[in-house]
Symmetry: C3
Subunit: 166 residues, 3 copies
């Protein structure tokens, strides 16, 4: 693995640029609806959650989405592709305020704010869901992949149309 | 041109910083309504389009805006300044998820998500238009300028008040 | 102060990364409601304002918020914590288009666009306030701190619920 980027020895500025690229690639993948590529952003034994802030802060286990392995993520993609009981929609995800908290147990801890906008056919675009990514990122096979990605959203309302990942 | 930045030999991280500066300058110019400076972000023989995603993906030629040269952009600015049949408004543009796809035929291909917010007098700010920039960028006279900028917006609705550039 | 970053001798790209970190830390502090840490982003003799764009551009002195020292900011935090006449709410702040205007009188001048989203209990998230930071940043005790931060917001409407800083 001599050619793998030496993430552990990077300066905070270099790491910031790596994370900006990671989040741009991640949201680009989802915004362009290349859902089949989405699980590739995670390591095999991963955790992906979408959870309202109140539950997260109280430590309540109730999550709106809970995927406990990469296989779960792949199942989710199949479900997205096969289900068509919902109206087509476009989600556009913006990311801001990427913060590097540091390395812990070989994982890079990071947070970032996201805002997702939803557009339904014949409707104007609206704010769909905003929140914060709580991420633990591994160096896996020479690149950064999510070991844990928790999307903590601000609204107490659970969106009834949370069909695509955040 | 010895002092010109050697964009072609930059690392992806250096290029990312150049693009972040380019998009910040571009949206800053528009947000601050320095429209006369806007054509300067383009090369002479350029293409600027604003097009709904559905048309773009189907390859339909119908664009909401279509400017096929820098002169067209300048004409558009004159029209903005001379027309006053519309209510004054402020547009604020946010950019996220800048992705560098690579160099092709001397042009740097990049994508970025944008969200534009509109504020009318005595009204609250609302989401105006979100979408993705599909850009091909040239090194022109030692700096980066758009050869092609296509603003692909998510809504199928054509905003009836698309007066300022995105 | 041998270990202090030599901000004055940084390249624009290095400075951009420093500012991205500063704004991420700043908005992260506010989004996570660690208000007690907020005054620490300012120097002692500072100016913090929230002002509608129209007033700002006309040079009118009327500001929605006006804090003329770090002590004022600390008072404001006490008021936030002690007042509970308002409904709980979450604000999420996104920052984009960071622009470095240059050094002047030992201060780094910068601008950035922000968008703030508000979520009230049992309500959907909505656009709360968008605008532009007009910042003058000092090197204080080896780190970047705001000497002047003016939040110029686009709406002519003064939000009646501007309880938390922007």
């Amino acid at each position: 693995m001599g050619a793998a980027p030496a993430y552990r020895s990077m300066t905070p500025q270099q790491l910031r640029l790596e994370l900006e690229e990671l989040y741009a690639d991640y949201t680009g993948c989802l915004d362009e609806e290349r859902f089949e590529d989405w699980p590739g952003f995670f390591v095999e034994k991963c955790l992906y959650e979408i959870v309202p802030r109140e539950n997260f802060e109280r430590g309540l286990p109730l999550a709106t989405w809970l995927c406990e392995s990469k296989g779960y993520l792949e199942d989710r993609v199949v479900a997205i592709r096969k289900t068509s009981v919902y109206a087509p929609r476009t989600i556009r995800r913006m990311v801001s305020a990427i913060r590097i908290l540091g390395w812990k147990d070989e994982l890079l801890e990071a947070r970032a704010s996201y805002a997702a906008f939803e557009t339904l056919p014949d409707e104007l675009t609206r704010v769909f869901n905003v929140g914060q990514y709580h991420d633990r990122i591994a160096v896996d096979d020479g690149r950064l992949r999510f070991k844990e990605k928790i999307c903590v959203f601000d609204s107490l309302l659970v969106p009834n149309s949370l069909i695509y990942p955040l």
